[in-house]
Symmetry: C2
Subunit: 187 residues, 2 copies
Amino acid sequence: MQMDKRKKILESALKLFVEFGFHGTPTSKIAANAGVSNGTLFHYFGTKEELIKELYIAVKEELNSFLSSKINASDSMEEVFRKFYQHSIYWGLDNKEKFHYVQQVHFSPHIFQIPESVLQEQLQLHLGLIEQAKATKVIKNLPTNLVYTLMLSHVNGIYTYVLHLPANKRKAVIDDGFAMIWDMFTE
Amino acid sequence: MQMDKRKKILESALKLFVEFGFHGTPTSKIAANAGVSNGTLFHYFGTKEELIKELYIAVKEELNSFLSSKINASDSMEEVFRKFYQHSIYWGLDNKEKFHYVQQVHFSPHIFQIPESVLQEQLQLHLGLIEQAKATKVIKNLPTNLVYTLMLSHVNGIYTYVLHLPANKRKAVIDDGFAMIWDMFTE
DNA sequence: TATTTTATAGAGTGATTAGTCAATCTATAT
DNA sequence: ATATAGATTGACTAATCACTCTATAAAATA
């Protein structure tokens, strides 16, 4: 019941921040859009900055736990990579605003409000996976951060491209996209 | 003389927008930082939005003409691609704020203020090159936009990675990075 | 039931900001 | 020398915004 309003505020903030930007979105409009009063917004989030920050953390956590839910212990290393890759893109297509919001924060000064420890922790899932793949010689022995950064860029690139494609033509591109990047990191 | 102030305003806006964001940068601070009065800013730029837009266009034009200046008619197709790739990254490293600003605008609602025709025109240089390479069978026959998007993503990825690297270790990564992406698009 | 804590509302406030305006200055052209 | 156009200023304004405060209702706790 109480969390309901908190959630509604976050949803409204997401929608409005993506559409109008941080500047173009007054807290009053967020509250109105969420169907709560001005005061209620500040009851849940001490400042606008905190709202921006908590929204970012919540969205990234959602994506991470979504990805985790997609893999099983029996998956091969390549299968895990493929699933992470594919489901990142599918999740983005199903959650366009959230996907966009992450990048919006990333290229704004608000990124500096996110504690380094939080950013680091959200990376662990991916970095650990890459190190495991390197240790078992599944992928080439390149710096972990380089592999991560290039894979992330590739995901963003494919996402950007398929976004403007009719839905029925997306799968082929996404599948080919994985083959391309997988080639890049295997012998 | 007159253009001097206009230029100073653009320089100050770039610096402050990147550091404090659009929201966190009042026009008054831009004017003060540029050493001009409030009124002068609005003499050159009708609105804050227009300043954001003109700065974006100017930066992208600068990058494009920088890239154009690096190639000669005698270059092979592969040389042209390599130069575009390498010099995009080097230019970014030499102009971090500008490189960042382009992406900052891209993931903000201000991108919609840039006329589609301008965006399209700024792409022509790259798209034309890719089509030429496809026509002469230098690269695989993939959709032009896909090639462009993936190359751009790769450039951003490598840039992001080398940014946090000591300067003397960058060249090797950049060179390897080109080999990786070139492999991806050639047989 | 009585008491305390939490949730919600919404009017109010002080500060800030984008943009205006009238006045002055500078430069060039005639 | 005079006229004209553009450049520059900075005080001013109307609007907006983040956040506070007081009051009340609901819920949890004792």
